[in-house]
Symmetry: C2
Subunit: 457 residues, 2 copies
């Protein structure tokens, strides 16, 4: 069996992108600006500069520059683990007996186990360049914290990670990877911050939340001028950095003259999805090409499919800027879903605007069916996917099976964001038949949406 | 910073090896044959066929054929995760400020997390081709069991893994990966075999050993003609399959006209080391080229550096064939060393003969210094190495630092066999400063060597 298209398409190092692509430049309706929660006014560069590095503030606010140079130091770091392969899923196609052609961009072949490193190194680099001592962040599932720890170790930058306490305790291995990379990892809520102390006093015994961890990380960054806060998703700057995924994907497809019909990505805060689809969306926005673009989210946390497009807080502590996005309300507490990286109540403002304007679709899938797809994929393609990534696999298999019914030879590209080596507790539940699905009620969502900030009125 | 040689050298799929290299064909002194422990006579094909698949028996006994065709089905499977990159360790070189040029062949970018998959798929393929229902094996650290589970899932072959009880309990995630791939994983010793029952009766509460797990797996394979036993290291056939590592390494080096001076690999049973050095050793044996070849073993289990070259059992249960090898005695119980894959009392007969004949060197390194090297490597090269692999990193750093002293620009190639995602308990100990070293006393080694089988007399 000789294949015209190899199993794995690798770009040469000299074919790797030299610039990030900024999809905002091609959007007619720009994403709504971040607002100061106190004044309700758009945040300016100075205000944002108190939280983020200056260069990242500039990128956050830049809605016009189509391509932004990737500094040579970041490109060198990218070469440690990139280009990532675009894989032709020959084995999965055969298993499904589908006429569809399936490709996936695999971002899991690095120690952080996910695409998060693409933005982590950029954010750490700009912090270092600004002469800062270090950065603070929060982590839930742990992929972002691991990626940031790796980037900071490489640049010799201090890294403080507030890890949601329940993850800190249930994922000790993730914690140890971060410590191996020299990060200090603090279970959140902690006694190291005012907000942490307050929460501990009010809710003794709480196992924490992402929102609380964000609040602690922001507070710590704010009290030392040598530190800034960094975030692994949602923000415009993150989607910019992650565009390296889509640019490489596009270059690899063009190398073999492949035209995708459908592009699929899982969606939590939107970092992977926005990065993967960016350059394709650009063509769509400019009217040069058309693609079906599908965001896949968990049925337990369905911000696109059941949320509201409105200004909301990014954190449950309600101290961060307001972002206009599809949201379930910042007080929405997602039920136990093992795809920790998709348990976020909101969605990237860029993607929210694009979805609102009809440029993409969204579907939600249930956990058990996601693990079924994950297991099938692992057994045929040999890669054990992260639960987050497996949402995209589920939707891809569903589309491929539709092709089997209709006989259409569609070309599907999906983002395989990471590996599941640190998610075996979830796999164990599935293997033991103990996994359950949960879909929030309309009332539940309505209750948290009712608490959206007044600025929407 | 533009590099003439890329960070990662990938072969094209059509440059991948089509044949395995059999180093035995180039050895003047062939490795000693396996002996029947009852008769003390060399085992013939028929006797071996009761335990191993026919085709694998042929490979085991073939000391003459220099190149053996890799079946197309196996080559297709290899394409799922191969070619593996040959990485130039630019970042480590800079960190060490060494004039040495360092390369590593990285075998960890697959879900089994190691090179073990190279032989697992071959052994599973021949079992399937022979019409068998399944295979049995043992696993300690879990890499081999995982690899075999993946190969069996791909070929729809039953897979029974006897996992050393202490690992089964302490490495639940490894166990779950195997279960996700459909393997049945039994903690050993178990009530499912006669030998297991006997050991449990004699030693209630034992946490098992590799030797006991081997005995159980062999017994189970022996009582059903639809099953055969498979082994992930030591055997000649395994080194043959693993030659794909060395062949790819050599092809990648030749592509950029790089001539290595030193080749370094960690050594447990010898599967990785034998595979990596195979084609280079061939050139050395044929007098075409010279290389320093260094085996690195843990100071806690130093079969090359402190063992005896003699016939010994491969298992502590003493039911398996006798192999002539460097051994600490099959009753030697390695102390707690986290590199589970290197805790084997013996060494591949092929490598033992080559070492005996002076074609390679061996060094032993202590655990704490290994984790120090592992951490330094992780922080500079971005890959969290398996403790086994980190033995090779330790020796490589030591050689690179010697070059720094002498100013020699030596080219060093080492095998990075795998990743350490399932070894975080060991990393945690190191991070907490709780790791200790252990070196067996001369008396301890002498005591187990004194129990070598009588056939040596």
């Amino acid at each position: 069996m000789s294949k015209e298209i190899p199993y794995k398409i690798y770009l040469e190092e000299n074919e790797m992108p030299e610039k990030w692509y900024n999809v905002r430049a091609d959007m007619k309706n720009k994403p709504a600006p971040l607002l100061n929660p106190g004044t309700g006014q758009p945040l300016n560069a100075e205000e944002l500069g108190a939280v983020f590095c200056d260069e990242l503030v500039a990128q956050e606010l830049d809605n016009d520059t189509q391509y932004i140079e990737i500094p040579q130091e970041i490109r060198d770091f990218y070469k440690m683990y990139r280009p990532s392969p675009l894989v032709r899923a020959y084995c999965l196609e055969e298993k499904l007996q589908t006429p569809a052609k399936i490709y996936y961009k695999f971002e899991g072949n690095n120690t952080s186990g996910s695409h998060k490193l693409n933005s982590a190194i950029a954010q750490a680099y700009y912090a270092k360049k600004q002469g800062l001592k270090g950065v603070t962040t929060e982590t839930g599932a742990g992929q972002w914290g691991t990626a940031l720890s790796m980037a900071c170790a490489y640049l010799d930058l201090d890294c403080k990670v507030y890890m949601v306490k329940v993850s800190y305790e249930q994922k000790p291995f993730r914690r140890e990877v971060m410590r191996t990379y020299g990060a200090s990892v603090v279970p959140s809520p902690s006694e190291t911050t005012e907000v942490g102390k307050k929460i501990l006093a009010e809710h003794p015994g709480t196992t924490g939340s992402l929102g609380c961890a964000i609040s602690e990380a922001v507070e710590v960054a704010g009290r030392d001028p040598g530190y800034r806060y960094v975030l692994g998703s949602v923000l415009n700057q993150v989607l910019l950095h992650q565009s390296v995924i889509g640019l490489e994907t596009k270059a690899a497809l063009e190398k073999y003259d492949i035209h995708p019909d459908i592009i699929i990505g899982c969606a939590g805060g939107g970092s992977n999805l926005g990065g993967l689809i960016g350059p394709f969306m650009g063509e769509k926005l400019r009217g040069e090409n058309d693609y079906r673009i599908i965001a896949v989210e968990p049925a337990s946390c369905p911000s696109f499919t059941r949320g509201t497009y409105a200004y909301d807080f990014c954190d449950t502590g309600m101290i961060c800027p307001l972002a206009k996005m599809y949201t379930l309300g910042s007080s929405f507490i997602p039920s136990a879903n093992h795809a920790g990286g998709l348990r976020f109540h909101g969605m990237s403002p860029v993607l929210s605007q694009l979805y609102h304007d009809g440029y993409m679709e969204a579907v939600s899938v249930e956990q058990t069916s996601v693990f079924e797809a994950a297991t099938q994929f692992a057994r045929t393609e040999g890669i054990l996917p992260a639960p987050e990534s497996a949402h995209a696999i589920r939707a891809t298999i569903d589309e491929a099976l539709k092709c089997k019914e209709t006989g259409e030879e569609k070309t599907i590209v999906f983002g395989l964001t990471g590996t599941g080596y640190f998610d075996m507790v979830a796999y164990e539940k599935y293997n033991d038949g103990d996994m359950s699905d949960y879909i929030p009620s309309d009332e539940e969502i309505a209750a948290s949406v009712a608490k959206l900030p007044k600025v929407n009125a």
